[in-house]
Amino acid sequence: PATRVEPEGQVVIGVAQEPTRFHPLQRRTEVDDAVHLNVFSTLWSLSPEGNLVPDLAVEVPSVENGGISADGLEWRIKLRPDVTWHDGAPFTAEDVKFTIETLANPSYPSPSRHGHELVRDIEVVSPTEVRWRLERPFAPYLAILAWAGIAPQHILAGVTDPADPSFNNSPVGTGPFRFGERRPGDHVSLVANDKYHGQGPFLKQAVLKYIPDQIGLKTQFITGAVDAVLIPGIAPDLAKEVERAPGVKVHYSPNQFVEIIALNTQLPQFQDPAVREALYLALDKNTVFNEIYPTGTKRPTESFLPEQSWAYKKDLPEHRFDLGAARALLDKAGWKPGADGIREKDGTRLAFSISTIAGDHLREQFQQLLQQDWRSIGVDLSIKNAPSAALWGDFWRKSQFDSIIVGLIVPIASDPDPSNRFGSWAIQARGGTGLNTFQYDNPEVDRLLREGVGTFDRERRKQIYFEIQDIVRRDLPYLPLVQGRSIEGTKNGLVGYQPNLGYRVNAWNLRDWRWEK
């Protein structure tokens, strides 16, 4: 490490969700990640540019450097020798083995086994080297590992009850910060780890302050009670107000969310592609982005991938708002207005509901605007919102909705593979596993998806995903709106904030944060 700078000062980061899960193998929400990414280290991490940067590993394995065999099945990882746990114990390959085995263990309550379940024959070659075999080639696994904080085998191996909260309440990692204390309902504090193997940290203490609503978050940011606002940031329609406040900076940082209106394509109303297209034509994106989500906060998109993704296709057909065209399209497809002005065809009324999380006021405004616009082309839209816990249950997963506004993250740890969303095997309503809640079923797409994960050749993959984006844009199983932007704020003088699409939270690099002299 370079010359160590004595850490000083503290930063209070306001977040509207409470971090509660600090166990690296059990974390669930993005705000948990804010703790996790700073207390634990991963084998390699993702840079803001989307590159993998070695952390605990000496280098990122690849076919080129021999870390991964040509068929993509054999992995061999070399580890840094100079890393210690916060409790002083040395970090070894055993920890990596333990972490991956635990994550792959079907009886362990980890949130996802995705990728890990393919790992076979994991083996510690030496304290600084570990290797394993994959069941089948799976390119996204590199990115998945960039999210997997390595857990201390020497502490956790002895814990038989996975629900034992003691580690969760005092986690021990190898990251730039040690876990300080948690005041339930109020804050979590992280303390500088002076034995950190990388650069930093520069702050003596970082606090994640829980302020449960966005208005409170904003108020406390403006009044100076918090130094930065992260999850979920500043509400778009408050951004202007915050910008005007003295002494603070507002950042409009792109994130991986793509806001869409998901359609349940199996509904008789939606099976006709003309309907889906007409609905899209009657969508007044401009007003939405100029009025509801003020300028600069969101950008229209046609893809399901964030534009920063290497697989993002720029020149997809552009949306236009044309009510006349929408009406003509519907007329042509045989949807005739009924007595009440609502179109119908073969006994099917063009009536359906739209849902979103109750209380999300901007989406609610959007819904109401949609209601008015679509009504003018003869569509009867009703609003049926629900609290998130009710919404994301069977209602969403088993495709019980008509249409739903949702912020979608398609890439998994920045890998663009959308199999989970568009593969016909991923339709839960039909017994599949996955989140193809649109019930989108296109054999051509299925084929491309399979091909896409099967190769490590990025150029080839790119072509495949371009093609998928074209098809999906044409088929419109959902109506794409915008790519999300996190509107976050930092006090003037606080440096180090850097958005990173590879992570769910822009507090991924607290080790770089510091106060300007």
């Binding site: 509660t20 079907p106 086994r113 995705h114 034992d164 629900a386 998130s388 816990a389 209602f395 769910r504």
Partner: protein, 316 residues
């Protein structure tokens, strides 16, 4: 007395049992679940969700789940939070202090102001003071707490900057002065409603007492005005107030939930809302049971106190 108290205790236990059944069925019957939240977690699959459900025991039939949970209650194991695996009692314990602090402060405000205005109003019934307080209490009873809270924050912290806009204390500052400073706003807002309630109850209790025959007797004896008020009127009028403490508790508790949200106060209220949105069933149920115990036992205590304070109910 002991025997009677025992009987009441048994009744209370039965009450709790009813509460537990109602609470449990309430949660069980509702759609969605604690894991729905994570449906959109990248990489989390349906299989993962089902696996976790199994691990939490949510796949069991309702009666089994109930028995397991209720059985735990009896032996003091209230289950563990889905959110961080901490024992429910610990979770509640970590928050209850803040809520009590708030409730206590609010009650202190409410009782002193409410009782005083109630008494003064009744003594000069239909006087100017009485009229003004009557109207004010009526308004106080009708203002939505959260709205009042928003106004208070807007005016006193954003415009005037007198009080902090929320929180129990700044991070890292544990001085009691700053704690007190932070307490003013929420205590005022939470106390408003109870102040009105206390004032009205006190007023009508004093009026009721003033109309009693024994007050006439006292006046017929030529008792001094001050003595009449403090010795005869208040002694009697304050008796029903004891019961009011027990009756007010649930609404105070409920009010605390709302006030805490407005003032981002790290108490039970926030815990409750979080638990609800995360479907943290063990914690929700734990809080239901906890508040029921609180209410039941405060009623029990109020009744017992009443029995001690009122000579008519005292055992010879």
């Amino acid at each position: 007395m002991v025997r009677r108290f025992g009987a009441r205790l048994i009744q209370s236990v039965i009450l709790l049992w009813i509460v537990s059944i109602v609470g449990f069925s309430l949660l069980y019957l509702t759609p969605g679940g604690p894991l729905a939240m994570f449906a959109e977690t990248p990489g989390m699959t349906q299989e993962d969700v089902e696996r976790l459900e199994r691990q939490l025991g949510l796949d069991q039939p309702a009666p089994i789940q109930y028995l397991r949970w209720a059985g735990g209650l009896v032996v003091g194991d209230w289950g563990r939070s889905y959110r961080d695996d901490s024992p429910v009692l610990e979770v509640i314990g970590s928050r209850i202090g803040q809520t009590f602090k708030l409730m206590l402060a609010a009650t202190a405000v409410a009782m002193s102001v409410g009782l005083a205005t109630g008494i003064l109003g009744a003594v000069r019934q239909y006087g100017r003071f009485d009229r003004v307080t009557t109207i004010l209490t009526m308004i106080a009873l009708s203002i939505p707490t959260f709205w009042f809270g928003l106004l208070v924050i807007y005016v006193f912290s954003q415009r005037l900057g007198w009080i902090p806009p929320g929180n129990a204390a700044p991070v890292g500052d544990d001085s009691w002065l700053s704690a007190l400073h932070h307490l003013i706003g929420p205590a005022l807002v939470l106390g408003l409603l109870s102040t009105a309630v206390w004032s009205r109850y006190m007023r009508s209790a004093v009026l009721e007492t003033l109309a009693q025959d024994y007050i006439r007797t006292a006046r017929a004896k030529g008792v001094l005005r001050s003595r009449l008020l403090f010795h005869h009127v208040l002694r009697n009028a304050l008796l029903p107030m004891i019961t009011l403490i027990g009756l007010e508790l649930p609404s105070l508790f409920g009010g605390a939930l709302v006030t805490e949200t407005v003032f981002t106060w790290p108490g039970m209220g926030r815990l409750f809302f979080d638990s609800i949105s995360y479907r943290d069933y063990p914690v929700i149920l734990g809080m239901l049971i906890f508040s029921a115990i609180l209410v039941i036992s405060s009623n029990l205590i109020a009744d017992t106190l009443y029995g001690v304070a009122d000579p008519r109910l005292r055992r010879r």
